[in-house]
């Protein structure tokens, strides 16, 4: 289920030079799983902007977004107290499986949805290891937040300026029994080559509607055509056609 509603900005601040954290207050009951996303209407922009739910409770939604274009720029300039028209509860979200030691692998702005996922997994009694991959030290965000969940948190940077030098796959630890990942396609390819267990990938696609009506975001899977926005964004490793 999904719903359109008005949300008020109660926090909007930079975490790095280009990644911002925004906290919104309003109805959150349509958000039912980690890895779901919301779709934000911005003044003067035709299409909504899809952004993953990073965290949510009874009446707040937290998102982390990177300024990459006009829409996200506009978001970064909004003030606390301003309102946004948002569709919430979109997408399938991650499935909480009965794994004990899952790997959570996030690259860049693929990190946000893993936060709420991590919380749920911990609640479920699992002991995740989190790998957060960035290009360089200045881009690192949310490391502390993951650590405060009491989980093993590894950071990689491509240039080695912080944490483990290299790609997320260079931080792979042994003994994991499942994986969840969100991030850019090259990272997915590297994970697919290295991972030894079953797992879930969260995809991105340009969207017309975000709720399954336009067929703008379709992809082929082994078993059927799926819409990233409605049947995804999360797909199981087993069904994906690379």
């Amino acid at each position: 289920m999904y719903k359109e509603n008005i949300y008020k900005i109660c926090e909007n601040k930079p975490l790095t030079e280009s990644v911002f954290k925004m906290v919104l207050t309003g109805d959150t009951k349509y958000i039912t799983a980690p890895g779901q996303f919301i779709n934000i209407k911005l003044e003067g922009k035709f299409l909504r902007r899809p952004i993953s739910v990073c965290d949510c409770d009874e009446n707040t939604i937290t998102i982390l977004y990177k300024v990459v274009g006009e829409g996200t720029k506009q978001m970064s300039e909004m003030q606390v107290g301003e309102s946004l028209d948002i569709l919430t509860g979109l997408g399938n979200g991650f499935s909480i499986t009965e794994c004990r030691k899952p790997l959570l692998i996030g690259g860049g702005v693929g990190v946000p949805p893993l936060y709420m996922l991590c919380k749920r997994l911990v609640e479920n009694g699992a002991s995740p290891t989190v790998i957060l991959g960035f290009n360089t030290k200045d881009e690192v965000f949310y490391e502390d937040e993951f650590r405060s969940l009491g989980v093993n948190t590894l950071v990689t940077t491509v240039d080695g300026s912080y944490g483990i030098k290299g790609f997320v796959t260079d931080a792979f630890t042994d003994g994991y029994d499942y994986f969840y990942t969100c991030g850019p396609m090259p990272m997915f390819k590297a994970i697919e080559a290295k991972a030894k267990t079953s797992g879930q990938y969260s995809f991105e696609e340009r969207m017309g509607c975000g709720f399954g009506a336009c067929m703008g975001c379709s992809c082929k899977t082994k078993y059927a055509n799926k819409r990233i926005c409605k049947d995804g964004p999360v797909l199981f490793r087993e069904e994906i056609v690379w």
């Binding site: 359109e4 299409l47 009506a213 067929m215 703008g216 975001c217 379709s218």
Partner: protein
């Protein structure tokens, strides 16, 4: 009380508002937002003889006041539509629906329409000769009067339902093509489909859309749509279903004054899933402000 009902080639509708094909799926995604039985009708996602995946992604690009899509007629094929979608639809939509049909040959169109002709739920066949997103077919029928007429004749031969031909705006003389369809037996004209458009990702130095070009629609195209509805409704004597850039009750009224008997709402549904509900609720209020007591009175009032 404003009378919003219209008679569209024999199909009586409670109001003139019709979600446009491809922006409303089979209605399933919208019934969770509101009771879609309040709609005049709706035009379901274009179907074809065979199942189609459509074009590679990205299929969507944003534009100022509009969007480009290059879905490429993704659909499960007419057999699946008849056997599954229409059966399911009975449960949540209790009015007659508009069946949007595409093809890659005249025979394709006839085949698909013949099947849909048997479906009681189908009130009107909307024959799309204008999809810009499929190579070697589709749009080419809509850019030639002779080809559009040929499709019309072939479809009329296999159905007793009213046939509307949905035309492409990417032509030099829209009235000529509409007239050819009328002469070939069409019961109505639907227009406009999308304008052919393109956007480039200047960071990546490549088109935003994998297919390079796509169909441009949304608020931005409204003045072109109003113009073509006007031209066609003046040239033809069959009813026109107006479409293109409609996003408010006032837009609906403007398009009806230009000559439309019913008005389709496309891209607006994608951005505001309540678009049609909002419009239908605002229509009586806007009509009252303008002294309109019966909305059908304003159809084509412009000289």
């Amino acid at each position: 009380m404003v009378d919003l009902s219209v008679n569209l080639a024999g199909m009586i509708m409670d109001n003139p508002v019709v979600p446009a094909s491809g922006t409303f799926g089979f209605g399933k995604e919208f019934k969770d937002f509101y009771d879609i039985n309040m709609l005049g009708s709706f035009s379901f996602k274009g179907t074809t003889k065979e199942e189609r995946f459509g074009n590679p992604t990205p299929r969507i690009a944003e534009c100022t006041s509009g969007m480009i899509n290059a879905v490429g007629l993704q659909n499960p094929g007419v057999h699946h539509v008849v056997e599954h979608e229409l059966v399911e639809m009975k449960e949540y939509f209790h009015k007659r629906v508009i069946a949007n049909v595409s093809g890659f040959s005249v025979d394709d169109y006839a085949y698909t329409c013949e099947l849909l002709d048997k479906e009681e739920q189908v009130g009107i066949l909307e024959v799309n000769v204008s999809c810009p997103n499929v190579h070697g077919g589709g749009m080419s029928f809509g850019t030639s009067a002779a080809a559009a007429a040929e499709v019309t004749k072939a479809v009329k031969a296999v159905t007793h339902k009213p046939v509307f031909i949905k035309l492409s705006p990417n032509v030099t003389d829209i009235a000529e093509i509409a007239l050819a369809c009328e002469e070939a037996g069409a019961d109505g004209i639907c227009l406009i489909n999308t304008l052919l458009g393109m956007r480039i990702d200047i960071n990546k130095r490549q088109p935003v859309i994998a297919n390079k070009m796509g169909g441009f629609s949304g608020d931005a195209v409204f003045p072109v749509a109003v113009r073509m509805v006007y031209q066609v409704s003046k040239a033809c004597s069959i009813p026109v279903m107006g479409c293109g850039g409609v996003s408010s009750a006032r837009d609906v009224i403007e398009m009806m004054m230009a000559g439309a008997t019913a008005v389709q709402v496309g891209a607006a549904n994608l951005v505001n899933p309540y678009a049609c509900k909002d419009i239908i609720e605002a229509l009586p209020i806007e009509c009252e402000k303008l002294g309109i007591v019966k909305i059908s009175d304003i159809i084509g009032v412009i000289d």
